[in-house]
């Protein structure tokens, strides 16, 4: 059953964060045909957003009555069903996916903010069966997305700015065929333009479903041939430490997860996206990329200082190791 | 003397005379640089080798820092930035919105005389720069 009205409450959010949520909610209300309201005291709450940095362990009474509890913080984790985690700062698409999850009734919640593994995620698999270096016309229900590899662009309807619905769609909603030059031109003039790497990245990240890319085992050392342009991808804050971890040295996925303290599924999704976009390379043995310069390792006090700076800027957890 | 940026001829002649007078009349002075506020050397006169272009840029930094520090310290109008070294002085001031003047002297100078002579030179240069069609570009 689709909810037409969603009540939202905040617990211990910083004014700046609350303002961000409220501005996103204002936009989403117009797009989603739902009424999105801040819950009044005593009113039933559909979505309770808790600042998990300020309140890492809310009591039962704090969250009682909320249909869904969202833990929002630098190292937020969800603790059970009907709970989700959102990293700071919230991205518009994550909030969109979260609100879509309120339509799921009492089923266990998963949104893209949990990582990959949401539904069949067919686009990535479909892309692997075609030559995606040539222009493609991707049909998604009644809409079309057109890729233009020669210009490094893709063209999409405005409402699909957040790619999650496309990348998570079931196979029966998708179609894929080569696009003609005329179709590419028409799309370029009538649809929004975005960097193609963003579509490939998101499709692979979401579509990997937490599994490693073909040819890479948990103990295969991998490294980045070059840094992905995080500025044009659907940036998630944990990309930076993952990229940094394998920009100067080759490491196997198991060790990447261990050193960063990240879920192996998130690491796998990151590596799948990196591989699909051509950034990733395997190494015969754990070895540093030849071209990398290696300054002296950071000392423990310096790592501690960097962690404190990251925390101050709201940039996520320090590395586990 | 030499210049690194083209100046209107009338202004250049006046400025050269002013700079020469400062050097001649100030005991211990050995160099003077007229520059734009953003660090381009316009004219300089010196008794020794003076890297006028680099000095112009550096004194631009000095003037801007001096003015900023004054503002942060709730003081008005930075007049001089004075660098006192073991063997001499560097004195810099802003002539106008666009020009600065820096003078350099050894230990045998009298700092007060150096400041006075530099200020007089800057007033004369400011006046010459305000003459019609004689403004430095």
């Amino acid at each position: 059953m689709t909810n037409t009205s969603v009540t939202i409450a905040f617990l211990d959010l910083q004014p700046r964060d609350r303002k961000l949520f409220e501005s996103f909610l204002g936009i989403l209300e117009g797009r989603s045909h739902k009424q999105l309201r801040i819950a009044q005291p005593g009113e039933p709450v559909d979505v309770l957003i808790v600042d998990s940095d300020a309140r890492p362990d809310p009591s039962t009474s704090d969250v009682a009555g909320a249909r869904m509890v969202v833990f929002y913080g630098a190292g937020a984790t969800a603790h059970g069903e009907r709970q989700l985690a959102l990293a700071k700062p919230v991205r518009f698409w994550e909030l969109q996916a979260l609100l879509a999850a309120t339509d799921q009734g009492d089923a266990p919640l998963r949104t893209a903010s949990d990582g990959p593994a949401h539904g069949p995620c067919r686009l990535h698999r479909l892309l692997q069966d075609v030559d995606h270096t040539r222009p493609l016309l991707i049909g998604f229900d009644q809409w079309q997305v057109v890729t233009d590899p020669a210009r490094g662009n893709f063209y999409f309807p405005e409402w699909l700015e957040e790619l999650t619905p496309l990348c998570q769609a079931d196979e029966d909603r998708l179609s894929l065929r080569p696009a003609t030059e005329a179709e590419v031109r028409a799309a370029a003039s009538s649809l929004r333009t975005g960097p193609l790497v963003r579509l490939w990245w998101e499709a692979a990240f979401v579509g990997s479903q937490g599994t490693l890319p073909a040819g890479i085992a948990p103990d295969t050392p991998v490294f980045l041939k070059r840094w992905p342009d995080l500025g044009v991808l659907g940036y998630r804050s944990f990309y930076a430490p993952l990229c940094a971890m394998i920009a100067r040295r080759a490491l196997p996925p198991t060790e990447i997860a261990e050193r960063t303290g990240m879920d192996h599924r998130d690491v796998a999704a990151f590596l799948s996206a990196s591989a699909f976009c051509g950034y990733l390379q395997t190494a015969a043995a754990p070895a540093a990329p030849a071209a990398a310069a290696h300054p002296a390792p950071a000392s423990a006090p310096q790592r501690g200082l960097i962690s404190r700076i990251k925390k101050r800027l709201g940039l996520g957890l320090p590395l586990a190791n | 003397m030499s210049n690194t940026i083209s100046l209107p001829e009338a202004f250049r002649q006046s400025a050269e005379e002013i700079l020469a007078r400062l050097l001649d009349n100030t005991q211990g002075a050995y160099g003077v640089v007229l520059a734009t506020i953003d660090g381009h050397a316009l004219l300089h006169a010196a008794r020794t080798d003076l890297p006028a272009d680099r000095i112009a840029a550096m004194t631009s930094s000095l003037v801007s820092l001096g003015e900023t520090i004054a503002h942060e310290a709730n003081q008005q109008k930075c007049r001089f930035v004075i660098v006192e070294n073991s063997d001499g002085y560097v004195v810099t001031l802003r002539i106008s919105s666009r020009l600065t003047l820096s003078s350099f002297a050894g230990n045998d100078t009298n700092l007060g005389m150096l400041l006075s002579a530099t200020r007089s030179a800057s007033e004369a240069l400011g006046k010459a720069a305000r003459q019609p069609s004689e403004t430095a570009q």
């Binding site: 700062p89 070059r226 840094w227 342009d229 995080l230 500025g231 044009v232 940036y235 930076a240 430490p241 990229c243 940094a244 971890m245 920009a247 100067r248 990329p289 071209a291 990398a292 310069a293 290696h294 300054p295 002296a296 390792p297 950071a298 310096q302 790592r303 200082l305 960097i306 962690s307 404190r308 700076i309 990251k310 925390k311 101050r312 800027l313 709201g314 940039l315 320090p318 590395l319 | 734009t36 506020i37 953003d38 660090g39 381009h40 680099r54 112009a56 840029a57 550096m58 631009s60 930094s61 000095l62 003037v63 801007s64 820092l65 003015e67 900023t68 942060e72 919105s97 666009r98 570009q137």
Partner: protein, 175 residues
């Protein structure tokens, strides 16, 4: 305790002051002077010494955010400003004639500091028609035998400035 600092550099107009202002707790202190040269076509003022902002850590320590002058004749300030710094953000303006040449200037000018610490490169106004591409910048880095992150960034957006710093700090953490 020695000063904790992060340094922003890049050509005039690339957005150094804007980037610092996006995250500084104080309005950036500036040392701008009127431009008298061809910079005037781009902006009216140039930084002659430095910009700085700051943020406060949980123990009260200050992290200073320094912006260097962009024009090379003020390069005398560069080694002064980077002394003891943690790392470098290089901002490039894609509307300039040659961002690759600009990048070369800053990689050369800060080579020793970068070798000891790390650098992230942010390309601003990246969608400027006819500008350089991220690929071209990477290709240039590969020719130099260097390997730095190169990211599209709009430094008017706090999130993009935080992304640049997240990348730089992550690099420093994993050295």
């Amino acid at each position: 305790m020695s000063e904790i600092k992060l340094i922003f550099t890049g050509p005039a107009g690339a957005g150094k002051t804007t980037a610092i202002a996006a995250i500084s707790e104080i309005p950036p202190v500036r040392t701008d002077v009127d431009a008298t040269d061809d910079l005037l076509a781009v902006k009216e003022q140039t930084t002659a010494a430095l910009d700085f902002g700051e943020i406060t850590l949980d123990d009260g320590s200050k992290v200073r955010l320094y912006g260097t002058p962009g024009q090379s004749r003020f390069a005398h300030m560069w080694p002064i400003l980077v002394q003891g710094g943690l790392g470098l953000v290089i901002l490039l303006d894609n509307t300039r004639p040659s961002p690759v040449e600009d990048l070369a200037e800053y990689l050369d000018g800060f080579a020793d500091f970068i070798a000891e610490t790390g650098a992230v490169i942010g390309l601003t106004r990246a969608d400027h028609p006819g500008g350089t591409t991220i690929d071209e910048l990477h290709h240039y880095l590969e020719q130099r035998g260097e390997h730095h992150p190169v990211l599209t960034a709009d430094v008017r957006e706090e999130a993009d400035v935080l992304m640049l710093l997240n990348v730089l700090l992550s690099l420093l953490e994993t050295r």
